[in-house]
Amino acid sequence: MTFGVHAPILAIAVPLLGAFALPVFTKLHRSLRDIWAAAVGAFTCAMVITVAVQVFTSGVQVYTLGAASPTASVVQGGFPIRIVLAVDGMSAFMGLISALVGLASLVYSFGFLKEEQGKTLAMTLFFLLWAGMLGMEYTGDMFNFFVFLEVTSIAACSLVGYRTWESAPVEAAFKTMAMYTVGGLLVLLSIGILYGEYGALNIAYLSSKVVGSQLDKIALGLLLGGLLMKAGAVPAHMWAPDAYGEAPAQAAIVLVANTQASLYGLWRVLFTLFVGVLSAPAVGWLVASLGALTILVAVLAAVTQRDLGRLIAYGAVSQIGYMLLGVGVGLAALSSRQDWGLVAMKGGIFHMLNDAATVGLLMLAAGVVRRATGTKDLASLGGLGHDLKWTSGFFLLGVLALAGIPPLNGFASKFLIYESSFRLSPILAAIAVLGSILLLAVFARAFQGAFLGPRLREARPASPAMLAAMGILAAVILAMGLAPGFFVEHLVGPAAEALWRGRDLYLAAVLGG
């Protein structure tokens, strides 16, 4: 248990060290680099799981950096002066999502990336991005959150655009970077406002002091704008299809997980920092309507896509809409404490895990297609199912799960969202159902176009590492589909409860009573 206390910081620090040591190991020998990457990946996953087990068994974990004892988060007078990591149920849940996606991405990149096309560089950036995501999810300090947000921004944009021998990825990277930087500066501006008002950066302390002045409201609005942009909500979603579509497959799935880390930041701001002073129904309606708009716009845009990567990218954006819808409905019902609000939040939060697994699976399969044929244009693809049997099976599984076909996991979470959003407004539920149907149509078309039909060309089969990575995600999808009750009760439930009524526990854990 003494070692377990340090697990939150190790989960952030080890991938950081791993990132910067990776090029050194490459200079020595490539196999050393692979061993190092595998070791760092395994250790990080172990730490994340340790944190999750501790949080789910014994409550909020607090780790104070630079203090004599990791639990001494406040100095005399009850003022938290040091940077604090605070991990509650929601943070631990997000850490598990990041660990799952990171593991799949790492395994996949062993077989997918080519040495002469910057394998070391891509793996270094991946570890940086991973560390940044875990940092965003575990930190209990607003400015620290901003720093990790920017770490993920820089690493993500580099991952999108490091293939400088093609022009489209760099274009996507520039656009994404412009959006990320402006969004990040909005977040920093609002952190500055909060610091100017209360003289502190600790989320729990700010939450206990915040009074709801006009300045607070402006700060909340700036945070909402910046984080919704980074999450890819319509109408500020346009960087997302560009970046997801052009990033190499192993990076694209981490970008999706990074998007969800930004969503987590939004939940933390809404449910912990400002919950006492914001007008929950209005903001809840805003988030839920943006979610419905995101579903509708992204799915309709996906219908017209002819590029497989871009089509999946729009699918990924539409899934963000379901999360916004679920948690937005929960927020709208927060002040009246309706039971269906909690159900909606469980649906939205469960959908984050589902989305990471299913969209990840689809993107990895699209990466196999790209590698096998050299193209992602649906007009020239076809008949790949003859050669890529496992990949087409995985793709079909991902399509069915994403569209919410029972008994797979996408259905379980969307079922929770449909029933509860109907209680808030039937129109929202109708849009969610319509989006799901259109999504099935879109992805059925992608599957038919790429994998069915007569064999058009010889395809290069996927390497074992790539199949293993897809196998991990497929196994998670099947497990969540066949035992949704287990996952909702033991993982999603505590995470939703941590947002729903866990604020006082969070504050007590950080500020000490």
């Binding site: 656009k175 609005g221 109408p235 007008s279 159900v343 078309r445 009750g485």
Partner: protein, 108 residues
């Protein structure tokens, strides 16, 4: 295994049992079919309105849902124009989102 929503519940096992029943029925139908079918003969050829299909005929993905897409064309064209690819427009829409968020938060 069951998932409760407050309104109802969902169990994948019941669904799997139903699926097994439907699968059994489909298998019965299949058993009922022609026994003279042989793979690798003319019976394999795709049937397109009585015409013999050309070799390697493949209906690519862009041809699917043609009528549906044609009907929705004004909406879809609008959406394509909405995503213009110009980075200034991206930032403009982000500012719009920011303005909406600020308005909702400050006015309520």
């Amino acid at each position: 295994m069951r998932l409760f929503t407050g309104e109802g519940h969902w169990s994948p096992l019941v669904w799997l049992a139903l699926a097994a029943g439907v699968g059994f029925f489909a298998w019965l139908l299949w058993r009922w079919g022609r026994r003279t079918y042989k793979a690798g003969t003319e019976q394999d050829m795709p049937f397109l309105s009585g015409e013999r299909a050309p070799e390697g005929a493949h209906v690519g993905a862009p041809h699917l849902y043609w009528g549906f897409l044609q009907g929705l064309r004004p909406v879809l064209e609008g959406l394509r124009a909405f995503h213009s690819g110009f980075v200034g427009d991206y930032v403009t829409w982000m500012v719009v989102l920011l303005a909406v968020a600020l308005l909702v938060v400050v006015l309520t």
